[in-house]
């Protein structure tokens, strides 16, 4: 028993190490290239310098673009999470005819709109609604694309919340809003937190919509700015790109750490079907 157990134990840790390496190794670039005097598209021990960092901070739009991204993504994410939670709760508790069909259809249509082919309709529509150059409008479009998947996932969380909780709350005279706020949401909290992070991450990386809809360079988010760090002939500006990539990644990582510490980041009893 014992030698076999040892072999299995060692095998287990070798496996875990390999998996960890698979996920960690690509990220080394983010640790080395920003501080390398000659950053390239490859990994090497850096020739340490902070000149790139200084150059990035001197870039006229680097920091504002991060702030813009925050505004845009917070709006899009809050709208998505709140509306999805409300809708998912209602859909989970009340049988509306054709509910599942509707959800699947919306999920499928969302793939059309997030694709490039929809850019003309979206652009013309936003122009008519007077929402060009509006961070709020852009955030709404992004939220609209994310909502179906968010509702789809959250509905499963809501389904998993035991109904007996609500029944007892109602016995004590709680209104539906109170039931949702004080009973259901706290139980489904990890799910809501997960959707929040998911929505934020998706909005954070969106390039095409903000690029077409936000006209003022001072208002454009980081995803757009990262694509503009090229010279006239289209060569990448590798002085600024690695540092900016790092800065651009920090908010999502911080958000994840915060949410995961505070609310737990897992599908806790979560998605079934």
């Amino acid at each position: 028993m014992s030698p076999l157990w040892m072999v299995r134990r060692i095998g287990f840790y070798v496996l875990i190490t390999l998996v960890l390496a698979f996920f960690a190794v690509p990220m080394l670039w983010l640790a080395s290239a920003p501080f390398d005097s000659k950053p390239g598209l490859g990994l090497r021990w850096p020739d340490w310098t902070f000149a790139n960092v200084a150059a990035t901070f001197e870039h006229p739009y680097a920091l504002t673009s991060l702030v813009n991204s925050l505004v845009l993504c917070v709006v899009a994410t809050v709208v998505t999470t709140v509306l999805a939670a409300l809708a998912a709760y209602a859909l989970s508790r009340v049988r509306i005819p054709g509910r599942d069909l509707l959800l699947y259809l919306l999920l499928l249509l969302s793939s059309v709109v997030t694709g490039t082919a929809a850019m003309v309709p979206i652009f013309v529509m936003m122009l008519q609604l007077g929402l060009i150059n509006s961070q709020f409008g852009t955030a709404l479009v992004i939220a609209g694309g994310m909502l179906p998947a968010a509702i789809f996932i959250l509905k499963d969380f809501m389904d998993a919340v035991p109904r007996s909780y609500e029944e007892s709350a109602r016995v004590f005279g709680a209104s539906p809003w109170q039931v949702l706020g004080h009973v259901v949401l706290p139980v489904a909290r990890p799910g809501v937190a997960t959707i929040f992070v998911w929505a934020f991450v998706n909005a954070w990386g969106n390039f095409l919509l903000p690029f077409l809809l936000m006209r003022d360079v001072g208002q454009q988010p980081a995803a757009v700015l990262l694509r503009t760090l090229y010279d006239e002939g289209g060569s990448a500006n590798l002085t600024v790109i690695p540092v900016f990539s790092l800065l651009y990644s920090i908010p999502v990582v911080v958000l994840y750490l915060f949410v995961s510490k505070r609310y737990g980041f897992r599908f806790h009893g979560g998605i079934k079907s």
Binding site: G42, A87, A117, S273
Partner: protein
Amino acid sequence: MDSSGLGVRRALGFVAPALVLIGVFLVFPALWTLYIGITNYQLTGPAAANPRIVGLDNVVEAVRDPLFTNSVWLTALFVLFSAVLGQNALGFGLAWLLRNVRPWLRRTVEGFVLLSWILPGTVVAYLWFAVLSRDTGTLGLLLGSPETAWLVQYPMTSLIIFNVWRGTAFSMLLYTSALAAVPPSQIETARLMGASGWQTVRDVVFPHIRGHVLTNTLLISLWTANDFTPFLLTAGGPNHQSEVLPVLIYRQALEGGQLGYASAMSMLLLVGNLAVALVYVRLLRRRA
């Protein structure tokens, strides 16, 4: 039935804001896109001034276009190997292996897996260039063959491995929670009866999490089929060898300005997604 006391009227009120937003910013442009798909609309040039309705010509042209069929095939490969097999298996494997390890190890592994999921796409593309590029790429250095240009010589394999890296987190999260719902006593019984790990998973665990497997597979398949990140890594190259459908559509729409044709292909992608979704729904029904 209505344990929450919500009532249909109030329930509709809860759903309405989301539906309005979806209706305006999603359903409407999506339907419009499908309409553009039956015209010869272009962004510039003579057809931009006077677009004509061409009916299903675009669809016929797409089906006959070797680039399109090539794309469909590549997309199917991409979804099958990176999502259905890769992310599913690795996600489940991680969830299974990490059940009983020390908390710090579990948190570390989960942390890295999740990090690869939440980093922005553009940044992730640079990270993988650093892994796969020629001469200085990490993989080449590790394997002692720096002259290999992985993204050029093995484009689809590279993309599949990349996407496994990118998307496993979702499956891992989902299966971790699913496994928590499997009664530990049953697993223990199986172990006492001398079942191997694989037998335990197949006979005891799987029946419990079948629904999770299907939901997970549906979502990651749809996301993978519509994923645009491959463009950032290979731009569809070399010579269309990694031109999955979203990349082909992007190139037709933006580089070619052929919006009618690109919209028609979007529609076909939608039909493909629909077919996949229907298969899953059927499988789910059979369970019930």
